[in-house]
């Protein structure tokens, strides 16, 4: 499911990132790559940008971009 559909407090594992070269490149630089566990800090009640936690980092992410990131709620296998 897309990251954009997740609710505050949920965690999931990034499985796939779609989108153009620029979008992917920017996400990669910030450490948002396949196999990473992310947690939603604020889903902004379903509209507007989200705040996600990637390890110790907090990242504000536009909803459009969040629709391009596909995650698995089962989490990453260790």
């Amino acid at each position: 499911m897309p990251l954009a559909m997740m609710k505050s407090g949920e965690s999931a594992c990034i499985k796939k990132i779609t989108g153009g070269r620029t979008a992917r490149g920017k996400l990669t630089g910030l450490g948002l790559v396949c196999g990473k566990e992310v947690k939603i800090h604020s889903d902004n009640s379903g509209s507007g940008p989200l705040i996600i936690a990637l390890g110790d980092n907090r990242i504000a992410l536009g909803r459009g971009l969040a629709h391009k990131i596909f995650v698995d709620k089962k989490g990453c296998e260790k």
Binding site: T28, G29, C34, S42, D56, A60, G64, L65
Partner: protein, 682 residues
């Protein structure tokens, strides 16, 4: 610190500071060079290259501070500045500044540099924060696995900087092997095929072939350009089709595999060199708690408004009594110097030059030092705590209705200080369209130079509602900016929409030193401006007020009087058709403070302060209309210059000069004529 053996420096060593945004590069730059460059707790503070120098053990170092970047991909103008410098080879050593608290992500950039064959020192900055979180990094393992020296620093406290200098001098000129990550059988095979093709096509030796090959497989546009520059058309085409064919045959996404392998390499390093407490033992994260409130869906915008209101109140309420003291000082010294000069038998012309020209002109602006000081104190605190990027997040919803996104809000906040850095801060936006719109609306953010005009008029004509009047002008600016952004977005400027993604750094306590440096710089710049451009214009106006010879000082027949009369009819329908007002506006384009200093010179009839004269010459309605004009009309020369250099064309400064003048005229017209109709403030 252990004594290092002394190494001779034959030439100056050129070092560059590079790394992720907000990792502390500029803080280290300032520590190394004694410079006072702008530091702030949000990503994207530095947008241009800055150079300084440092000395250590008889070695002279040239230090270059670069904008932060997450990768060499370079998606925005500031990142391009960093990428272009780092790929230029115009340096001996890179100090790669790393935020120790997020080693993994920072190393992604480090790895890119190492693959390019850059000589670097890994600087583990913010060691204090990592320690607080219980993160331990084994330097030995990290250094061995990366193949580079590792130094730990706490730049904000100046710790480890001496050691960093020693390591820098020690490691200059050491050539290390380029880092090679194993990308797996298919890709490695392709890489060697490309390399042999490149060799066959007689590519220059200086080009790093393996690096180029990997970049070509990633379809990096810059690498493709480099290839087309370096080899014949035929060879370039051959290599490109080789990559396309191999990838198709392998049925793999090489680009993703390369990224995965890089992160695999990094993860392995992190696993072996970093130990951190189990999740349940980690200390509470205060930043998250603050964020829960500050970025709350309903509270976010009201909190932001409150913050701006507090800064505003601080600037005016606290500043006002101080203005009084300085004003008295200037009046007193003006009178004293005047009588002193007269007593010594100087001609009345010289006395008038000093008391009307200099004190009436420059003095009337310098009075506002306390306000400027307080305003920048507020902005410095906003920048240093980390609230800036939260404001961008909170405002994203509003901004996206205008076709922009939250990040475009940061240049607007900076614009409250001064529009020149505001315009420059748009470099962090990655679509050209967002940048142009943001640049065009930035002058509507009421900068500190307009503040003296507001305060003088508010004091003269709205003694009981001064604060409210000035605040309404700030709001008017924001509102117009929002409207104009919407208009430009809808009708004028087309282009791709960009994505909003921005790091929210942890909240940090502003350091006393940081804030003081910040303000000292700004107040210094203000005083310098008063001593140069404002002074020169005041002298010019004074001379014009005395010519032609024999004319009554600052009368309608004087040169300035006649000049003002030429422009005055344009402003007459707005309620301020006097030649004094008109000439102050015309010269105000040189710098907005000049509006006040010009009024100070032309109204310096000797008796009373500027406020009294203004109260006699403006109705409250006309004054408000005049202030709206000053807020909106043509940006100052420095801002127009910045727009020119940022957009690389004359088109945009001309457009902004014209559209803002027209907008100002229309708004003032509505205010004045509307007010007349309703009979308010006449």
């Amino acid at each position: 610190m252990a004594l290092k053996k002394k190494k001779k420096c034959s030439n100056q060593i050129k070092i560059a500071l590079a790394g992720n945004p907000n990792s502390g590069k500029t803080t280290i730059f300032n520590e190394l060079t004694g410079a006072r460059q702008h530091v702030g707790n949000w990503p994207g503070v530095t947008v241009e290259k800055k150079t300084g120098s440092a000395y250590y053990n008889n070695c002279s170092l040239q230090v270059v501070d670069l904008p932060g970047t997450y990768s060499l991909g370079a998606y925005s103008e500031d990142e391009i500045v960093a990428r272009d410098f780092l790929t230029s080879d115009d340096y001996d050593l890179v100090l790669n500044i790393i935020n120790s608290g997020s080693l993994e992500r920072n190393l992604y950039f480090t790895v890119q540099l190492l693959e390019m064959g850059v000589d670097l020192i890994a600087v583990l900055n913010m060691a204090d924060e990592a320690r607080k979180k219980g993160i331990k990094i084994d330097h030995k393992i990290l250094s061995r696995m990366l193949g580079v020296p590792v130094v730990e620093t706490v730049a904000s406290k100046g710790k480890g900087v001496e050691n960093l200098l020693a390591e820098t001098v020690e490691n200059q000129g050491l050539q290390k092997d380029q880092l090679k990550i194993n990308y797996g059988f298919e890709i490695e095979d392709l890489i060697s095929q490309i390399i042999s093709q490149l060799e066959k096509s007689n590519i220059q030796d200086s080009v790093n072939k393996r690096w180029l090959a990997v970049k070509l497989i990633e379809r990096d546009p810059e690498a493709v350009k480099l290839l087309e520059r370096e080899v014949s058309k035929k060879s370039a085409k051959k290599i490109k089709s080789l990559i396309a064919k191999t990838e198709l045959k392998a049925e793999l996404d090489f680009d993703s595999i390369i990224i995965d392998k890089k992160y695999e390499f990094i993860n392995n390093i992190v696993r072996k060199s970093v130990t951190r407490p189990a999740p349940e033992e980690e200390p509470d994260n205060i930043s998250d708690k603050i964020d829960n409130v500050v970025t709350n869906k309903y509270l976010g915008i009201p909190i932001f408004m409150t913050v701006m209101w507090v800064i505003f109140q601080l600037t005016f309420t606290l500043g006002d009594p101080l203005i009084g003291y300085i004003e008295t000082f200037f009046e007193f010294s003006g009178a004293l110097i005047g009588s002193f000069l007269t007593g010594f038998g100087f001609s009345s012309l010289i006395v008038s030059f000093v008391s009307d020209g200099i004190i009436g002109g420059v003095g009337s602006v310098l009075v506002f030092i306390p306000n400027i000081f307080l305003l920048f104190l507020g902005i410095a605190v906003l920048e240093d705590t980390g609230y800036m990027s939260r404001a961008a997040y909170v405002m994203d919803k509003v901004m996206s209705k205008l076709g922009l996104h939250g990040k475009s809000f940061i240049p607007m906040i900076i614009g409250f200080g001064c529009n020149v850095p505001g315009v420059m801060a748009t470099r962090t936006l990655d679509s050209k369209r967002d940048r142009i719109i943001s640049i065009l609306i930035n002058p509507l953010m009421s900068c500190s130079a307009r503040l003296p005009v507001y305060v003088v008029f508010a004091g003269a004509l709205f003694p009981n509602h001064g604060g409210l009047v000035v605040f309404s002008l700030y709001l008017m600016g924001i509102l117009l900016a929002v409207i104009m952004a919407g208009v430009f977005n809808k009708f004028l400027i087309k282009g791709e929409r960009s994505h909003f993604v921005m790091e929210l750094p942890p909240y940090r306590l502003p350091t006393f030193k940081g804030v003081v440096i910040h303000m000292w710089e700004k107040v210094g710049a203000f005083i310098k401006k008063a001593g140069t451009i404002i002074f020169s214009v005041a002298v010019l106006i004074w001379v014009m007020a005395n010519l032609p010879v024999g004319v009554e000082y600052a009368s309608a027949e004087s040169l300035i009087g006649r000049f003002g009369q030429l422009a005055a009819p344009i402003f007459a329908p707005l309620g301020f058709g006097s030649w004094q007002a008109a000439s102050s506006l015309v010269f105000g384009i040189l710098a907005k403070e000049v509006v006040v200093s010009t009024l100070g010179v032309v109204y310096a009839a000797g008796e009373g302060s500027l406020r009294t004269v203004l109260a006699a010459n403006f109705s409250p309605l006309a004054a408000y209309s005049f202030l709206a004009m000053v807020l909106i009309y043509t940006p100052c020369a420095a801002t127009l210059g910045a727009i020119k250099s940022e957009t690389q064309s004359w088109k945009w400064p001309i457009i902004s000069a014209v559209y803002l003048f027209v907008l100002a005229w229309v708004v003032s017209f509505i205010i004045y004529q509307g007010g007349l109709l309703l009979g308010i403030g006449v």
